[in-house]
Symmetry: C2
Subunit: 529 residues, 2 copies
């Protein structure tokens, strides 16, 4: 545990060296817990305005730590967002995107042949250098073929699934998704791992909670620093909760799932205190993308006052709930309005571990420690304040945020064809010329919004105003520099093949759960939006 | 001040007698402060999810008291809402509505000939019976002709204006609105009382703060119980703030106004503590209607996740921020999900004062004390739980809420004609068949929403579902009973006349501010929406 004098010293170090514990070789680096929710929206937390105020533990976490209302994911979809978190790089750099069509969202269904590239450096691979034991509990989503799984990519332990819990499937043309314990499957969803589609009942969140707690207790006992990447998916459709929570919220099954996750967060933080390691454990809570509004009122959450949701680069698709918690270090009850993102968690975690960032690649994340420790330095530091944030959809930079301003260079919700089938990423919302159903280019004259006075992106600033000209003048050089220097990674999400599905995952023999692998039939994946 | 044993006794009394201090004749009744904001939206408070978190004092007030996320105003427009608060009755009963057209919003512009009826009993008139000294600081809005002014209707003191601060006017065809100190004007807006339309600068909120503080200090010194009705209007367009606050928020002038009001609330609560009267002063904070979204991003606030805004009977028009604060009595950091309204403040205040309600009329409010004191009793009491709330627009009952369900019997935003001129009460929002531009009747088959899982009123429950049938079966008897027993009051907001405008308010002679009164020309007022 860090004493207060050490804390002062290391705080100073953070500012000078961009590396939080570099100058304190005898102090063990703090444990790191990243809690990443699935499709939970910005507006799902009580402290962020959900009217049913069903997250007392998260609200308390914010009161004991720092709330970051301007925190973003790196992509409005789960797989690329998760790849960005673990690599500290935009999906367009780390390869978690597609070039099948323009500005298409892509992820890792079980037909996908690709996964996280061996050329990428993942956070747990770095942390290992400092003796961290790394575990992921929950959804992985960076590829399900053997070489892409967590234990091949820096994690020491895993309990969870490589893909989403869609299903049930009949096993003939599509297998159910396996759940792994480390390197071998222990069952499949809807078979050994129960999710009742009708009632919404599943004990998975409880299992994920227990897996997380056991890991924390074990590593604390062994006096080894740990990284826990806790990624439960109860708020992703089909939404589930355990019996104790079903029917308990005011807003149906989705709220029940939120209540159970909130309860679990409370259990984890409480266990850190019981173990006496709360002052040496950095915890960050966030979500992988905005609420999936198209899943309807029973299975989707809230993006609060923001426009649209998952799949879009409007605020509702990418602004995320975010709380940093580290008693005795991060000042309690504070709010940071700095623009920051999941990619910063990579650089921040390295800094916490006393590691410098890899020097052979461009990182999109920054070390947030000066911000989180609320150092006065950050209030003037241009690297934190005048920092552009790029909103990508597939291979296209759709928008940029700089300070309070956001400029859209392309707008799209989804196609008319999909929209007319009832697939709606912006239900009840329609901003003319903004929530377009045709991919609309604005690169010559971007739509600009002031997110402070217009968080809902409803009132584009007049292109003939002085404000517009001034803002565009500030944003353009950042965009030009970004485009000039960007070297897109090799796209990993282009090819699909029925033969790569989870027919015969490692461990299936022992369980008698191997299915016959069909003939390979590689095709370009179809990404409709 | 109430000791803790007294508190237990009176808590018990509240449950048995519906009258909080009735059995404690020797305990002075608590002071009452109602803070009523103007056009501030549910989503404007940090604790209710405004992303710029600019209300630290209100957030602290909620943490020290009780938050009521299901609190409503009685009308989506200012005058009727205020009349309802002070009478405890729906506008359709107390006369603050119009029959010029169907379902039209009406208020008290300076052409209005009507005002609050002498047949109504106002809260300060009742409180006088128990020795309360009553002051209103801010906007009145219950009629500006002499007989309708505050000092003729139960208030002992007044500093503020009878109408909105629209203007400036040129004094020939329309006078600027007077500001009164008690029974005489002290100046007019844009003349002696400065509001800079260009910069948005005005010291009015500071003046209202000082008036409130002085009143509190004076009555405390005189050891007299007081009722302060504090109704500043800085968040009503044209929005204003004093120099110290202008430019300080992240969201422009509107946010600056919110910050100044939040600061003022903090000053008032702090003064109560300094005076040692915080345990004997009940404070309630709320707003008169939803944010005026049609005023655009510079001059309007946020209704959080709710649909539309001011002028509509959707949630955005009528759900209000609400905090009850009474240290030592109302338990700190609590949330009550009971459906309640500004009309309850009438009955609740009477109860606090040890008064029973008038027995010669129907009241729409309930005594909230058992709820505010968090008595277990209220969790089962059907008078609190199975309580319908009626949403009126003018002379029409548009919707009803019962528990988590809301049934719309009529829908309307505004006419196509107005909408095409750019007047939009639901900017960026469009729910087909719900946010209609034609008055649409659904009385045979109301649109029903579950506000828990669908606070944004975007997903009407299928009329063929069991849920729909069950809910309608529960709601219908309440609606039938309401309609059967309703005796509408005489409408006070039908007639307008240029001769009644503020040409020559009391006190104008002394100031040389009297204007020539034009010839009387009474006409039906035109209420377009």
């Amino acid at each position: 545990m860090l004493g207060s004098s050490t804390q002062t010293l290391t705080l100073f170090t953070a500012v000078i060296c961009c590396c939080w514990t570099q100058k304190s070789p005898n102090v063990p680096p703090p444990n790191i817990i990243i809690m990443l929710m699935d499709d939970m929206g910005w507006g799902d937390l009580g402290v962020l305005g959900q009217p049913s105020k069903e997250t007392p533990n998260l609200d308390a976490m914010a009161a004991q730590g720092m709330l970051l209302p301007n925190f973003y994911t790196a992509n409005p979809l789960c797989s690329p967002s998760r790849a960005a978190l673990l690599t500290g790089r935009l999906p367009v750099r780390n390869g978690f995107y597609t070039t099948n069509g323009h500005a298409r969202n892509a992820y890792t269904p079980q037909e996908i042949t690709g996964g996280i590239s061996k050329d990428e450096i993942l956070l747990p691979q770095m942390l290992r250098k400092k003796g961290y034991v790394n575990k992921i509990v929950g959804k992985w989503h960076l590829g399900h073929r053997p070489q892409y799984l967590p234990l091949e990519n820096g994690f020491d332990e895993w309990f969870g699934a490589p893909n989403c819990h869609f299903g049930p499937y009949n096993s003939s043309n599509r297998p159910n998704i396996p759940v792994y314990n480390n390197s071998e499957m222990v069952g499949r969803y809807y078979e050994e791992i129960k999710i009742d589609r009708k009632s919404g009942e599943s004990d998975l969140t409880q299992i994920y909670l227990q897996e997380g707690l056991d890991f924390i207790v074990n590593q604390t006992g062994a006096q080894r620093p740990f990284f826990l990447y806790w990624t439960p998916d109860g708020t992703h459709a089909p939404v589930y909760a355990s019996k104790r929570f079903l029917g308990k919220s005011q807003r149906g099954r989705y709220g029940d799932a939120v209540m159970e996750l909130d309860h679990s967060v409370g259990q984890i933080l409480s266990r850190l205190r019981t173990l006496g390691i709360e002052n040496n454990t950095f915890v960050f809570f966030t979500s992988d993308n905005g609420a999936a509004l198209t899943s309807g009122p029973l299975e989707s959450g809230s993006n609060g006052p923001f426009l649209c949701g998952k799949e879009t680069t409007f605020e509702g698709g990418m602004r995320e709930p975010a709380i940093a918690w580290w008693p005795g270090n991060i000042p309690a009850g504070t709010v940071s309005f700095h623009v920051s993102s999941v990619m910063d968690l990579f650089s921040t975690s390295l800094s916490l571990a006393g590691l410098g960032p890899p020097d052979d690649r461009i990182l999109d994340g920054l070390d947030l420690m000066p911000v989180l420790l609320n150092h006065p330095h950050t209030r003037q530091n241009t690297s934190y304040i005048d920092r552009p944030f790029f909103f990508y959809r597939g291979n296209e930079m759709m928008a940029v945020r700089l300070g309070q301003y956001k400029a859209h260079y392309w707008t799209w919700s989804n196609s008319w064809e999909e929209f007319e089938k009832g697939i709606n990423f912006c239900p009840g919302e329609e901003v003319p010329g903004v929530t377009t159903h045709v991919q609309t280019e604005h690169t010559m004259e971007p739509l600009i919004f002031h997110l402070g006075r217009d968080p809902g992106e409803k009132y584009p600033i007049s292109v003939s105003s002085n404000e517009y000209a001034a803002v565009l003048g500030r944003i353009s050089p950042f965009v030009e520099e970004h485009k000039r220097t960007l070297v897109p990674g090799m796209p990993q999400l282009n090819m699909c093949d029925v033969a790569v599905m989870n027919w015969a995952p490692a461990g299936c023999e022992k369980l008698g759960k191997c299915l016959k692998i069909p003939k390979s039939d590689p095709q370009k994946c179809d990404w409709p939006h």
